[in-house]
Symmetry: C2
Subunit: 220 residues, 2 copies
């Protein structure tokens, strides 16, 4: 039978000072021992229910992060990508706020600006670029960017996250209309934070949208 | 090490009398011998360059179809989907015209209307439903539907394909503006077919769009 190495890798993304960052770990074994790479590992057929379950386990064990939002990106495969042999990696991407990184992440986890295009082992550079392209393109018609914010946030904060991902300034009125159309947020009654001009209402994702994004047919 | 079965499956879709059809094959071995299922097979680490290459080989060997357009859909995995054990299937979908099916397909290939929701072994029902949802949602902002037509076609024929996929009538003027905006077609000089009112110009996909779809930021 075929000898194929089956792994999962996770592209864990966060936003720090409006720059998209990816979590990398120093590899503790060969191949590429000592190099920074994506958190990943073998599928454990005896304990993982499916590849998603394997990705959640790897992320939890290697970075300390338990994320409600994780989505399959694509599968990368072939004879050339891993020196150990023909391999398949089912890749997932996850989004978390920088607060969650600060609070829960293992100390060995490094953040790297995705636009720095750091050289990485395996095909991890291409994997990250694919994840970032998917996130940026999906942002314009989904609630995905909300997962980069903490539990509570204001609409101006949310708009800045969308703008950072889409790389363009958005019109405030049409942005707010789109967000209202998605109907994924609930306001926190009586809770405001100081804004540039006046106090800004705090919002959070409604319970049913915390582990899946809302998709719109028409984008921002 | 983990014992994981690595396979590829292909959802080969075509449009017959405006109904989307999927190609199924009678399985010639266990499990589910004799049942109709998607064309699929093991990855051959000794001959396939990657999973896409494996899918092209499986499609060619099992159905006779060589397609220029094949795209990764998603990977389906877990302990429950295949009675032989924990398995990973990297699934691809391909689009061909009904003429190609008629000309090149092996005689054992059966077409099944995707909306008939035929019960199938493994998780092939869910796989097909995922492929159809992807195609329908991607159709509205891409040139993907062109791959369901033969080499040459008229704009009214193309509009009917988009309408069949999107399940709604489209405005002719805005449809043609979107198609022009994509800039994926070239007219066949002096070649017309009889239309309902007057002869209709024949078009074909430009060379560079035959093995990849054009994606628009804003949909139809």
């Amino acid at each position: 039978m075929n000898q194929v190495i089956c792994t999962v890798d996770v592209v864990l993304l966060t936003l720090k000072e409006n720059a998209l960052q990816v979590a990398l770990l120093k590899r503790d074994r060969e191949p590429f021992q000592g190099s920074l790479a994506l958190p990943g590992g073998y599928i454990h057929a005896d304990e993982d229910a499916d590849a998603r379950d394997a990705a959640l386990r790897v992320l939890r064990d290697k970075t300390g992060i338990e994320t409600p939002y994780l989505e399959q990106l694509a599968t990368f495969s072939g004879m050339g990508r891993d020196p150990r042999g023909w391999s398949v990696s089912v890749v997932f991407y996850a989004l978390v706020s920088i607060d969650v990184i600060g609070k829960s992440c293992h100390p060995g986890v490094m953040l790297s600006d995705v636009d720095r295009k750091q050289k990485l082992p395996f095909d991890h550079r291409a994997v990250i670029d694919t994840a970032v392209a998917r996130l940026r393109s999906k942002s314009q018609y989904s609630s995905l960017p909300c997962h980069l914010l903490g539990e509570n946030f204001t609409l101006p904060q949310l708009q800045r996250v969308y703008e950072a991902l889409m790389g363009e300034a958005l019109n405030k009125v049409s942005f707010r209309r789109k967000i209202a159309e998605m109907d994924v947020l609930e306001s926190l009654e009586g809770q405001f934070v100081e804004g540039a001009h006046r106090p800004a209402q705090l919002y959070r994702l409604k319970q049913e949208w915390r582990d899946q994004p809302m998709l719109l047919e028409r984008g921002l």
